[in-house]
């Protein structure tokens, strides 16, 4: 049973790697960021809650953005208990609009910012992230295509001062590359808080950000998909974000993400339909199927290990190079090719260290993942309110 599951998961790994590589090869030229034909006006909304440590650096990075069009920064303080508001107000004289509101959650802060926005495009930036100077130039060209409603950036880990952050570095690179490939399938299902850009009229027409969900960035992406708009992803626009520094923080973050995933998957189950093409017929069904198989597989492995700890000795010390080892090696090789390609495309200098991080991160996350899912399901059932990332 366990070897059958192992073969299945190895095959899925090989299949997804091959599929991503094929899609990349077929669309490599079209994946480059398009040159903008014009520079539409843009309002950048920065929702902030207890971000006195990061907010100044974030605003400074936005003021330094190179952009030929008109840009404005709107900071929305969501009832912070620290000096976030005071720090943000120091930038008013530099043209930054600072709004203050009672605490109501990130989505409500973004909606307040959206109400005050009047530019053609609206960007949202988490207050713990900084944007590379040339990011806007890489992103706005996608809006020349009238079907594009949102553009996401390439996210990288800002600081890797702890092993947990260092391990996430590789994950962010691979995920960003995967998002670029998913763009070719019209199947991006999240517009991340760190610097996604939207057409303001589309965002307003869709009703702004949902204030009830715990992952508003995923919910809005699915709503955009449901309304048959396109979401693009930029290679060159780099945004550095503060990744969780400890396992506990990581657990809280991922629990929130998976809870949002489960709730939104149910809410937008109608997207699993042939009329949504690759998204409806492949990406969403396979993601859900993998989650179910993953939960079953992890429970089964945990049960087998606890029921018979001595059996593990045999599995961990194979004495022969047999079919299982070979297919696992092939799966690892395929994943390795993907990581190397992602690292090359995203100008990472040391792809081998990235692969080692991925190799460490994957089994760690696999075990961790089961607890995250269980926590997410529990929170979802009990309806725990998570106002800002990880809180609650």
């Amino acid at each position: 049973m366990s070897s059958l599951l192992g073969f299945f998961l190895a095959f899925v790994t090989v299949y997804l790697s091959v599929l991503f590589l094929l899609i990349y090869m077929e669309n490599a030229e079209e994946m480059e960021d398009p040159q903008p034909s014009r520079f539409p006006s843009i309002d950048i909304i920065v929702p902030a809650y207890n971000e006195e440590e990061h907010i100044a650096e974030t605003i400074e990075s936005l003021l330094e953005l190179e952009y030929e069009g008109k840009k404005r920064i709107i900071v929305v303080n969501d009832g912070s208990k620290d000096r976030t508001l005071a720090v943000a107000k120091r930038f008013v004289k530099k043209g930054v609009l600072v709004l203050d509101k009672p605490n109501g959650g990130k989505a409500s802060a973004m909606n307040v910012g959206l109400k005050h926005a009047n530019a053609e495009l609206v960007a949202v930036l988490d207050a713990d992230s900084i944007v590379a100077e040339d990011a806007l130039g890489h992103m706005v060209g996608y809006f020349d295509d009238k079907r594009v409603a949102a553009v996401t950036p390439m996210m990288k880990v800002w600081r890797s001062s702890t092993p947990v952050q260092a391990l996430q570095r590789a994950e962010y690179i691979v995920n960003s590359f995967a998002k670029k490939v998913l763009e070719q399938l019209d199947s991006i299902t999240v517009t991340p808080g760190p610097f996604s850009i939207y057409r303001r009229d589309v965002l307003s027409k869709l009703g702004g950000f949902d204030e009830k969900t715990v992952t508003e960035d995923q919910e809005i992406a699915l709503r955009i998909q449901k309304a048959n708009w396109k979401i693009a992803s930029s290679y060159g626009a780099v945004v550095y974000t503060d990744a969780p520094s400890s396992l506990l923080e990581l657990y809280k973050q991922r629990k929130r993400w998976y809870r949002g995933f489960l709730e939104n998957a149910w809410r937008y189950r109608g997207l699993i339909h042939p009329s949504y093409g690759d998204l409806g017929m492949f990406v969403l069904p396979s993601t859900l199927a993998l989650v179910v198989v993953g939960i079953f597989g992890l429970f089964y492995s945990l049960y087998s290990t606890l029921a018979s700890p001595f059996a593990l000795r045999v599995d961990l010390a194979p004495m022969f190079l047999g079919p299982s080892e070979l297919v696992i090696a092939i799966a690892a090789l395929c994943s390795f090719s993907l990581v190397i390609l992602a690292a090359r495309k995203l100008n990472e200098r040391n792809p081998v260290s990235l692969f080692i991080s991925t190799a460490i991160m994957s089994p760690l996350m696999a075990v961790f993942w089961l607890f995250i899912i269980l926590g997410a399901v529990k929170d979802s059932i009990s309806g725990v309110r998570l106002a800002w990332k990880g809180e609650g």
Binding site: Y15, G277, F320, L321, G322, S324
Partner: protein, 216 residues
């Protein structure tokens, strides 16, 4: 917005390529499995030759010469046979219990085990040594780690310096048939602990209690 497409051709090609890669992996893996079986055949021959050497020495009439050689050489021979058995079990796990090469190797291994056992019995009585001996009859049909008696014995035998001899009742060889008849084996697992017969699954603690009682 225009209707969305489905890259069905791409999914199909990816599937075909993955299947090819996977098949190559499986075929190569099986090939390596075969060469491992051949390698193990050579090792079995070497082990048999080593066993014959020890056996010849112990045939010497004079205990003063034979016993020290037996005592220094037999433990190492037993250990190597055990290690060989563990590798054989691993090979069986990978190639399947019905694989003809595995069964052929197991026949040879059963013969090695019996010879070691008889050698030990003879020399223990000649040299006046008393060893704990467990003869274990098993079958890998309907195997599950939860009911693997071998894992239970493995937790106890070293504690008591016991020599364990494993026999798969499904191996079709005169050695196994003879032993099964000799101990009237009708079900598995069956353990003969220092001559005392125990049928059915025994947890490690129960085996420990038997050995403690016998050694008291």
């Amino acid at each position: 917005m225009e209707g969305r497409g489905l890259k069905a051709r791409m999914y199909f090609f990816a599937f075909v390529i993955s299947l090819l890669l996977f098949t190559v992996g499986l075929v190569l893996g099986w090939q390596w499995g075969f060469s491992a079986a051949n390698e193990m055949k050579g090792e079995l021959d070497a082990l048999a030759a080593e066993g014959s050497g020890v056996e010849l020495v112990t045939l010497m009439e004079n205990e003063t010469f034979a016993c020290p050689i037996y005592q220094s050489e037999f433990g190492a021979l037993f250990q190597r046979t055990e290690e060989y058995g563990a590798r054989l079990a691993e090979l069986e796990l990978r190639k399947g219990k019905l694989d003809s090469e595995v069964m052929s190797l197991k026949e040879g291994y059963a013969a090695m085990q019996l010879r070691n056992y008889l050698l030990q019995q003879r020399m223990d009585s000649r040299c006046g040594t008393e060893s704990n001996v467990i003869i274990y009859f098993y079958s890998n049909e309907n195997y599950s780690p939860e009911t693997d008696e071998g894992l239970q014995i493995g937790q106890v035998d070293r504690e008591f310096g016991a020599y364990t001899y494993h026999f798969d009742v499904n191996v079709d060889s005169p050695v196994v048939r003879g032993l099964k008849a000799s101990y009237a084996i009708s079900s598995v697992p069956t353990l003969i602990i220092n001559g005392e017969r125990h049928s059915g699954f025994m947890p490690a603690q129960q085996i420990r209690e038997v050995l403690e009682r016998q050694n008291a």
